[in-house]
Symmetry: C2
């Protein structure tokens, strides 16, 4: 009983394809025409009835066509759908946008989410996972007696700065002293290694009676906290309204508010395997209550310095999984290539698309 005939598979695939296209329950007649397996609607009906029994399809009501269940989608995603290759134009388009957006704004996840949303025409969110960041370099630039600039280069090669203005005067020597001291003792350590003790000893060593050390240390802590905290960005929530399943404003509002909330989304973020994997979460497979009748496609990329970036696209369960997965996969690969440390596959190549779902495999 756990097997499923070839013909049933074809029919199931046809139903899902058609339903994704039209958002209307699919009838036996339509299938007989679209999937040309030489048999009549009546035969299809028998098969459909069995597919309903097996749990792959359901009927909104007795005399309507069939609609895929989450289990049906799961089967579709795992085995049935044709893994779309992007067209040359599409890959070129993505690469062009990537080059354009990333050349200056290195890691800005806002850009990643916006891009993902534009490409797929669904709301998208981007996030970075937790990671341990340390300071690689510490510089202090003397501007004038009351002003200096802190410049910190992090282990992930991003650079942060802060302009500090003082009510009192400091001389250039003090700045130089502090600079080299901080460069010596505050580099290579993580945020929680910056203890009051360490700050104190730096203060004494620099002969700093004005508390500058704590100001600078505070900046260090701030920067480290900020960079190692996962951050999230959501774009294109409004595209939800283009989907017929969100014509109900309340439903749309609920999901959009949830998305705008941002970060605490995707509890599955942590459990994410490796790069080059696209994961599809269908309806009830989602942990978050608000996503129980939506689907999420997630791709992961290497954001450099052991940081993993995640791109997620949210849509109705009737989502164009194939297209979205292909695009996200390509996008993630492009990002890995540009941001990641490791050796990279040559530009413009399709990388293989590995799709993993949850533990259930859609059979029974």
């Amino acid at each position: 009983m756990s097997t499923i005939s070839e013909r049933k598979k074809k029919i199931l695939a046809a139903v899902v394809d058609e339903y994704i296209r039209t958002a209307e329950p699919v009838g036996s007649k339509a299938i007989a025409q679209s999937a040309h397996l030489g048999c009549s609607p009546a035969t299809i009906r028998n098969e459909l009835a069995e597919l309903v029994n097996m749990g792959y399809l359901e009927q909104p009501h007795t005399s309507a066509g069939r609609v895929p269940t989450p289990m049906g989608y799961r089967m579709y995603v795992n085995e049935l759908m044709d893994r779309q290759k992007l067209s040359l134009e599409e890959t070129e388009d993505i690469n062009r946008r990537l080059n354009q957006k990333l050349q200056e704004l290195d890691d800005t996840i806002d850009n990643v989410s916006r891009l993902a949303s534009q490409l797929t025409d669904y709301p998208a969110l981007a996030l970075t996972t937790q990671s341990t960041v340390t300071i690689k370099r510490f510089d202090i630039i003397y501007v004038d007696a009351n002003t200096f600039i802190l410049v910190v280069m992090l282990s992930n090669n991003s650079v942060r700065n802060k302009l500090v203005r003082l009510p009192i005067s400091v001389d250039q020597n003090m700045i130089r002293r502090l600079s080299s001291l901080f460069n010596a003792s505050f580099t290579g350590i993580t945020e929680d290694q910056i203890t009051p003790l360490l700050i104190n000893s730096t203060e004494r060593a620099a002969d700093d009676s004005m508390g500058l050390s704590s100001v600078i240390a505070a900046f260090a802590i701030e920067v480290l906290t900020e960079s190692s905290t996962p951050s999230a960005s959501v774009s294109g929530e409004n595209r939800l309204l283009g989907q017929p399943e969100f014509r109900d404003p309340d439903k749309a509002h609920r999901l959009m508010s949830y998305l705008s909330g941002g970060g605490h989304i995707l509890p599955e973020a942590d459990s994410f395997g490796g790069t080059d994997e696209v994961r599809v979460l269908i309806g009830p497979e989602n942990v978050a209550e608000e996503l129980k009748d939506s689907s999420v496609v997630i791709a992961s990329y290497d954001a450099g310095d052991n940081t993993r970036g995640l791109i997620g696209v949210v849509g109705p369960t009737r989502m164009d999984y194939s297209a979205v997965a292909a695009k996200l996969s390509f996008l993630a690969a492009g990002l890995s290539r540009r941001l990641g440390g490791g050796e990279a596959p040559p530009e413009g190549m399709h990388n293989k698309l590995i799709i993993k779902g949850d533990s259930s495999d859609g059979s029974r």
Copy 2:
């Protein structure tokens, strides 16, 4: 005919207040109760009929209550509504949020728009006007033979940096030379004063045969462009869906897409007078087609260094003008105080609320 009796004003105000509250056409009976001017519904009906004639109100259909026209709202905003003072809790709340959000992320307009949206519960957008920015200081930090960090401090006291990696090696002296040269000849000038000629001469003066000068100059241009280009940020689009007038998903979608588009919004931005002014644009008063049946409340603040920031809140014409104007005004004042250059009114004070509309004054 251009005058309007006191009682009519009271009735008009009552209609608008009630309509803002309930989103339902307002009947004569309701007014007789809410605005207690000792007269019967019948009298009110007569007055209402005249108000309709004058163009301040309209009826959706013969036997419905009255709804304000844009002209009615205009009159309401200009003369009728009580200028709300915020409660102590509200001002404290805003100040607390301001302190929290701005202490580190100086100018991030994302924060401004998010804050405005949270406070008003309408979608909000923040933008900065065009301004001329120059470089105040130029520093180059040597990291290693293939890497250096550019640090630029701008006339608006923001600091930008960029990590540059080279395929070739440079020695520390070269860096030092470039640093002082750029600091000398690239400061105090605007973007379009950075000519190929200037770059060339710098290149020669530094004895730079590797084209480093153009890399650095490119960064200078980039930073100047970016900082002087008006930028925009939109937040809380989804709050639109909470409003009954946007229960139609298509209508909501249209406006949300327009808002997400961002910048080209508010063509009236340029014409904006001074700080401490709140401007209300009602329905057709808006230039943008997409806003013709929505209202916008705009406040302006001093973002320092001759830059003006704008905060706009978008909602249905049936918007709580009074509350929104009060909140925006206070928020703008708080931002001016923190970011602006001039002397500041003491914290926590209500600043006077000046509301200006367009040229028409709602009378005929």
